[in-house]
């Protein structure tokens, strides 16, 4: 399957008063067309920053981004406009991602107006089509965000992202702020849209269960570093990196008869400002040793299963 999106050694650093913040540090992976890549991690892992850098909402500090085989890391403004039509984003917070003073219709129509390719009547028709595509009733066209529920607002966000037929959508925690029953509706909607329109998703979430459900492949991030990546089912069957193992074991389960050995990590999630070299998880890892403080490389340990840990084989008896 050809890769639609590929990143190589992508870096994004921010200058802060306390020092250089390594939000995304040397991340590489590729996403095949029509598939969903799950990016999981906890606070400070850089997953949201990663999403924004890939779709050019933020400028990368280093590394490269490829779209449909072309290097799109540095683009001039004309290419940027075109790129932005192919890559869209759905935000986490349904309350702040919509302009409170614009109606549903105005919000969805805006990308159509900006593209300049639609006449007025076509815009209205296209907006109507998008509204029903996301399962929203047409009578909400003139409603303002504060009149809608969280799930309905999120549908508007999806409709806005779908205008202009993008190929790639970054979903930044799209269901984390929603109630359980509404979460299921939106996740099903996203799956349906992917099947109908051949969309490719990068699905960012801190919720492993959601990632397992939606993603074909998963990247696990910790403080800006990519620590493990593999197909979804494989990751949960054989989590190899000590952090992934702790993460998976930490998820509370509704299966009350499952006897789980819970790995409790010591210490706190450290800050990505001015980090020390080597594996950033080492300080909390029970297998920590001297080589952990050298830069770690992502190695293919099992078929299609990459891990960045110098002791991965011995920890997992491979």
């Amino acid at each position: 399957m050809p890769a639609l999106v590929e990143v190589k050694n992508l870096k994004k650093y921010f200058e802060t008063p306390r020092g250089m913040l390594h939000a995304v540090d040397d991340v590489s992976f590729s996403i095949a067309q029509g598939k969903t890549m799950g990016i999981v991690g906890e606070s400070g892992c850089g997953k949201s920053t990663l999403g924004r850098v890939i779709i050019h909402l933020l400028e990368s500090t280093g590394g490269s981004i490829y779209f449909e085989g072309e290097d799109v890391t540095e683009v001039n403004s004309r290419q940027l406009r075109k790129q932005r039509e192919c890559m869209k984003i759905i935000f986490q917070d349904p309350y702040s991602s919509l302009n409170p003073r614009m109606t549903v219709e105005q919000t969805i129509m805006e990308p159509l107006i900006i593209s300049g390719r639609y006449a007025k009547q076509e815009r209205l028709e296209e907006t109507e089509r998008l509204i029903s595509m996301v399962g929203l009733d047409q009578r909400f066209r003139r409603s303002y965000p504060h009149e809608l529920s969280g799930g309905q607002r999120q549908r508007v966000g999806v409709a806005r992202a779908l205008a202009l037929h993008p190929k790639f959508i970054v979903c930044d925690e799209p269901v984390s702020s929603l109630d359980i029953s509404v979460q299921a509706q939106i996740l099903n909607l996203l799956q349906d849209l992917q099947a109908q329109h051949g969309l490719t998703y990068m699905f960012i979430t801190h919720d492993l269960s959601v990632a397992r459900h939606v993603a074909n492949d998963i990247c696990v991030m910790y403080i800006g570093q990519l620590v493990e990546t593999s197909p979804s089912r494989e990751l949960f069957l054989h989590p190899l990196h000590p952090y992934t193992q702790a993460l998976v074991s930490a998820v509370p389960s509704i299966d009350i008869h499952r006897k789980k050995e819970r790995i409790i990590l010591k210490g706190e999630i450290t800050s990505p400002v001015h980090p020390k070299p080597g594996c950033r998880f080492a300080r909390r890892c029970k297998y920590e040793c001297k080589p952990c403080h050298e830069p770690q490389r992502l190695e293919e340990v099992l078929p299609n299963h990459f891990v960045a840990c110098c002791r991965v084989r011995e920890i997992n008896s491979l």
């Binding site: 935000f91 702040s96 302009n99 409170p100 900006i114 399962g135």
Partner: protein, 295 residues
């Protein structure tokens, strides 16, 4: 509140409300805001229908009847030139209120634009604009108005500029603060992601969501501007006689305050009522806009 079920579920009921409607309802429940609004409305109506209400022209002199105390013929008495004080007050409302509105409009628009630019672009632009505001603000308001008035000379337009200039800083700071808050909202990122130009982002997304605090401060500034206009006239700047601006009426009657107190008292009362009306309404408006509906 809306209680509906989406296309898949069974619909229950829809009750639509615009944001304006919600704010209006909240205002209606606030008694002091209602009183303030009512009072302001009366004053505005008085200004609009001045020709119908005032029994005399504002410059109609009747030297034989000058300095007359309030009576059936002259409700508020006459001034030193025999002009009917009541008529002058009624006509004067046109001048005083329009000065108030227009000066505030001027300072709010200029202030909002500067504040939006400062807040949105940040860094050097922000520094320059805010230091400019600091300079303007470091001069006490009335002195600034006097200085500009002296430089520009008399006349309504120049008075407007002089009075409105100091208010720019307030509108600018309020807008800048609101813009800084809005800048972190995700719908701005969304606008960038759909290729919106910077101009579009500022005009369509930033400004409409930042003007509420300016609206409140503007209503309350009206009272202050009218007072300042009165002060300018009092010291001989700004509006000149025979224009019946309330402040200049007080100035004119100053020397006769012991013998003809009505010449000073009535204009004073009307200035007070205007300031009160707009302040009460502005207070209520702030409360009504304040907890924005966020579920």
């Amino acid at each position: 509140m809306v209680n509906t079920v989406t296309a898949e579920g069974k619909p229950v009921k829809t009750k639509r409300q615009s944001e304006f409607g919600i704010v209006a309802r909240r205002l209606a429940k606030n008694s002091s805001a209602v009183i303030g609004f009512g009072l302001a409305l009366i004053l505005v109506l008085m200004a609009i229908f001045a020709p119908l209400i005032a029994p005399y022209a504002y410059d109609q002199q009747d030297l034989l009847n000058s300095r007359a105390a309030p009576s059936g013929e002259h409700l508020f008495g006459t001034d030193e030139l025999g002009r009917d004080v009541f008529s002058r007050i009624v006509w004067g409302s046109r001048f005083s209120l329009s000065i108030g509105f227009l000066a505030v409009l001027f300072s709010s628009s200029v202030g909002m634009l500067l504040g939006a630019i400062a807040g949105f672009f940040g860094k050097v632009v922000d520094d320059i604009i805010m230091r400019l505001m600091d300079v303007i603000q470091s001069i006490p308001g009335i002195l600034l108005a006097i200085a500009i008035s002296v430089v520009l000379g008399p006349g309504i337009f120049n008075t407007l500029l002089a009075l409105g200039f100091g208010g720019i800083t307030m509108a600018c700071r309020l807008t800048r603060a609101a813009v800084l808050r809005v800048r972190n909202e995700e719908y701005l990122e969304a606008a960038i992601s759909i290729n919106a130009s910077t101009a579009r982002i500022i005009l369509r997304h930033v400004l409409p969501n930042s003007f509420a605090p300016v609206l409140v401060s503007a209503t309350m500034m009206i009272g202050g501007i009218i007072m300042a206009a009165a002060m300018l006239s009092f010291i001989g700047l700004g509006v000149q006689p025979p224009t019946p601006e309330w402040g200049s009426m007080i100035a004119g009657g100053r020397s006769l305050i012991r013998t003809c107190p009505w010449m000073v008292t009535f204009p004073g009362i009307f200035i007070m009522l205007t300031v009160l009306a707009f302040n009460m309404f502005g207070d209520g408006l702030r409360d009504a806009l304040d907890p924005k509906l966020k579920k």
